[in-house]
Amino acid sequence: MDESRFEELAGDVVVERSVVLPAGPDSIWEHLTDGDLLGDWMDGEVTIAPRPGGAITLAPPDGPVVWGTVEVVIPERRLQWSWRTDDGLPTQVEIDLDPAEGGTILTVRETLLPWTTSGLQPQWTDWPDRRAFLSAVA
């Protein structure tokens, strides 16, 4: 594994994408907060209660259900939720909308929420000393 890969893992494990969409924030917001519309582009059956504390689920055509909780709802600006599959990794998804020439910039960040298995219950916690470990073995 080369060093840039270690750097990637040593920081927050985060995936970020940004696109300019040919639409206004009002129309995009609808595609973020209406379950049917959201499911069309997320690819799966989606339910979402777009309010803080509301439930969100995605049942993809070929994988396990991802389920979680909506955390931040700022209409036409920002939507954030955290979710996981039953035996997978919890992640946080943040979607931001910003005005741009000819449309709207949508930025999505999916960040791994580190956890430990102490006993049977996964506990969300900081992932300690990753940088020290990864620099030691790199």
Binding site: M1, R5, F6, E8, L9, V13, V15, R17, V19, L21, P22, A23, S27, I28, H31, D40, W41, M42, D43, T85, D87, G88, L89, T91, L106, V108, E110, L112, P114, W115, T116, T117, P122, T125, W127, P128, D129, R130, A132, F133, A136, V137
Partner: protein
């Protein structure tokens, strides 16, 4: 496959300590590790089992003991997981873009 066991294995400071010693100091037995890591031999054995489950160590019988060595390959799985998440969002955003056109 989502390598959650790898993340879980790396999330404990003592396990990380054990793994770092194997990575830096080379293969060792639980007894040898308990000299340099300040926890009991039983605790070391438990941590080694978790590291083994995550594929981060290899076990090699050595007399009456087992000698453990660091196996970095699961770290590559983490990279693949990150890349898979990125590919998924690329496909989603492409669909959203064509829907809005």
């Amino acid at each position: 496959m989502v390598p959650h066991e790898v993340f879980a294995a790396l999330a404990d400071p003592t396990r990380l300590d054990v793994l770092t010693r194997l990575a830096k100091g080379g293969p060792a037995t639980a007894t040898e590790l308990s000299v340099s890591v300040p926890v009991s031999r039983q605790a070391i054995t438990k941590h080694l089992a978790a590291l083994d489950a995550a594929g981060l160590v290899d076990r090699n019988p050595s007399g009456r003991e087992v000698r453990y060595s660091f196996d970095p390959s699961p770290l590559g799985d983490l990279v693949k997981w990150v890349e898979g998440v990125g590919d998924t969002w690329d496909r989603r955003l492409e669909r959203l873009g064509s829907t809005l056109e």
